[in-house]
Amino acid sequence: MIELDIRKKLLGSQGEFFLDIKLHIKQGEFVALFGESGAGKTTLVRCLSGLADPDEGFIRVNGITWFDSAKKTKLPAQQRRIGYMFQDYALFPNMSVRGNLEFALRKGADRQRVNELIEIMALGELQHRKPDTLSGGQQQRVALARALAAESHLLLLDEPFSALDQETKVRLQDEVLQLQRHFGLTTMMVSHDVSEVYRLSKRVLIIEQGRILREGSPAEIFGAGQASGKFSFAGEILAIEAADVVYAVTLLVGNQIVRVIATSDEAQHLKPGGRVTLLSKAFNPVLVGC
């Protein structure tokens, strides 16, 4: 059980703003932080890990105070027992893949865990290589394995699957979900990817300018709940072209580029780079296995 109520001044692209977050997370819960870059998601995760300090507030985990500005107490990052996967992976260049995992073991931990993780993450052939010789996706797998090797109670994942191809991503997401449930790991994940948030998390917090704008289950937040019989996609406008009396709007939905028609009234409010929700009635959907 995590109770957190913190404030911290941050410097964003549009000047100063306050990270102001109040949060309860249940034991074993999988929470996703969703929002634009620079909204304060990573700072929140860093405060939880002990690598950054809030200006004021408190963080309590399972009844133990990790941080309290009023009492001036702070538990150092070393004693918080967290598994933190960094956005830049932070693999130790001087150690092999196996060395990185072994370094993460706590005192007296079972060394067998390293072998298990190497197998789960399919790192067997890479285990004696140095991180610099691996691809981005491979490094990401090692970083994830290392965060899990620490046998922590709390897993913090900062964009954990961003550098992976679709196939590896789905496989690893399954593994993480299994491990997370198996160990009852309370997990907080920073992500920009709707499908990832949907698959993994039970609760999403939409963070904007340092505050929780909305929170709820992924289905509530991303709208699938009310959209029965309708498709609803989040898309980004790539281009708007005039075609006779209507406009052709080119959208990026997931990895697909689609073109839809908009009336001139609708097109007035749209501009390239903006985000839209594309709704469509499912009259006659055809599902093709792949």
Binding site: L51, A77, Y84, F86
Partner: protein
């Protein structure tokens, strides 16, 4: 003609001891300097760099004053610990450490600064202490800079002349290092002996630097082989 090896041996002994001391104090200091956000950091950095720009005779002069038994520092040391700094080997070691300090600290400090901070942060979240992180994560990842710093400090101590002349004098076996011996032999118009010392120093310094560049190239190609 029989050549006197003593000044050369003394030179290498001095350089070796000074470099050892420099590594012990300079590397932790460089790390601290790379981390600190203290207000006086620029002042400290300036002090560390001063030997780079100061004429050796200036530094030598002030060290001589400080080391003098009539001064509280030199006198106190001699009185309390029995260490005589002026015109002694110990004095040369101390002066060399001060004089070669920036040559070790600069490369090592920039090595620490160029490491992504997430490396030590990752080690902290894995429960490793600052010391464990320093030894197992930070130091192994700045090997080229450590090597460069150590070798530069060593080579620079070998080549030092002005400071040594000011505070060491020219006592055989005590303070008569090779660079002083060369000057001495030239004064005495003994060019063959001067050439001998000069040639050995040239050869040794060339070999050391060449080794560093070759080793660093190996490091770099190994790191860049991704």
């Amino acid at each position: 003609m029989i050549y006197d090896w003593q000044p050369l041996l003394l030179t290498f002994k001095l350089a070796f001891i000074a470099t050892l001391i420099l590594c012990v104090i300079g590397i932790p200091f460089a790390w601290w300097l790379s981390q600190t956000k203290m207000r006086f950091k620029p002042v400290l950095e300036t002090l560390v760099s001063m030997p780079l720009v100061l004429p050796p005779s200036v530094l030598g002069f002030y060290l001589l004053l400080a080391f003098s038994p009539t001064n509280w520092f030199g006198g106190g040391l001699e009185h309390l610990a029995g260490i005589k700094l002026a015109f002694s080997f110990q004095g040369l070691v101390l002066a060399s450490v001060i004089f070669s300090f920036p040559f070790l600290v600069h490369p090592v400090q920039s090595g620490f600064q160029n490491l992504p901070s997430s490396l030590s942060e990752a080690a902290y979240t894995l429960g490793k202490s600052r010391w464990q992180t320093f030894v197992h994560v930070l130091l192994p990842n700045i090997k080229p800079q450590l090597l460069a710093g150590g070798v530069l400090a060593f080579a620079h101590t070998i080549g030092e002349f002005g400071v040594v002349l000011m505070i060491g004098g020219n006592m055989p076996g005590q303070t008569r290092v090779a660079s002083i011996a060369i000057y001495d032999e030239v004064e005495a118009l003994n060019y063959a002996a001067a050439n001998f010392y000069a040639f050995v120093l040239f050869g040794v310094c060339f070999t050391i630097l060449l080794t560093v560049y070759l080793l660093n190239k190996k490091f770099v190609t190994r790191l860049g082989g991704a």
